[in-house]
Symmetry: C2
Subunit: 112 residues, 2 copies
């Protein structure tokens, strides 16, 4: 049994612009959990500006809006991840997992 392991990092691009990688997915999940970009940034130990830039970059690269601001309402404004954004997160996680399984399989066939 080989002690070698293959690791991978994947990311999704749209026309050469990065759309989603592990860090962005993590931030989006924090937004879903926290309900606001500022709380999500804090939870991720990230400046608000850095978080905002990342989210802006996600929205610009995506074919549909991933993150929107809600204004006013009983609980005041917040930040939400759209259903399209949630679908992208799910796709990313699934493909990432599939990729790890695929790579484990590749290595297990080898005698090194």
């Amino acid at each position: 049994m080989s002690t070698y392991r293959i690791k991978s990092r994947i990311w999704i691009e749209n026309e050469n612009h990065v759309l989603l990688g592990q860090g962005r997915v993590h931030l989006l999940k924090a937004i879903i959990r926290e309900g606001s970009l500022s709380k999500a940034a804090k939870a991720e130990n990230m400046s608000y500006k850095k978080a905002w830039d990342l989210i802006n970059s996600v929205n610009n690269a995506a074919k549909e809006t991933v993150v929107t601001k809600t204004i006013g309402g009983k609980k005041g404004g917040g930040t939400i991840v759209t259903p399209y954004g949630k679908k992208l997160i799910e796709i990313f996680d699934t493909i990432n997992k599939n990729c790890w399984d695929f790579l484990d399989g590749q290595l297990s066939q080898l005698d090194i």
Copy 2:
């Protein structure tokens, strides 16, 4: 047809030490081509120390020697990549290519 593309980077670890990634494979190929570590480092725009550290790290993580020094002989000393090292490079390139194909396939099944 989606304009989204999935990119990936893979690397091989042995007991939590990085063995091979794209940069190391590139350097090993330069050693094979150039016949010496110093020429390979120059070709890769890398300091000799940096190249030496990387190669040292490869040898330490691998189960068998990947790079050796040859001493003396008609052409003076040089640096060679062992047959085991060449096998690892081939495996890395193959799995990397397989991974890209796999990820293309994953995305093509999706409607996003």
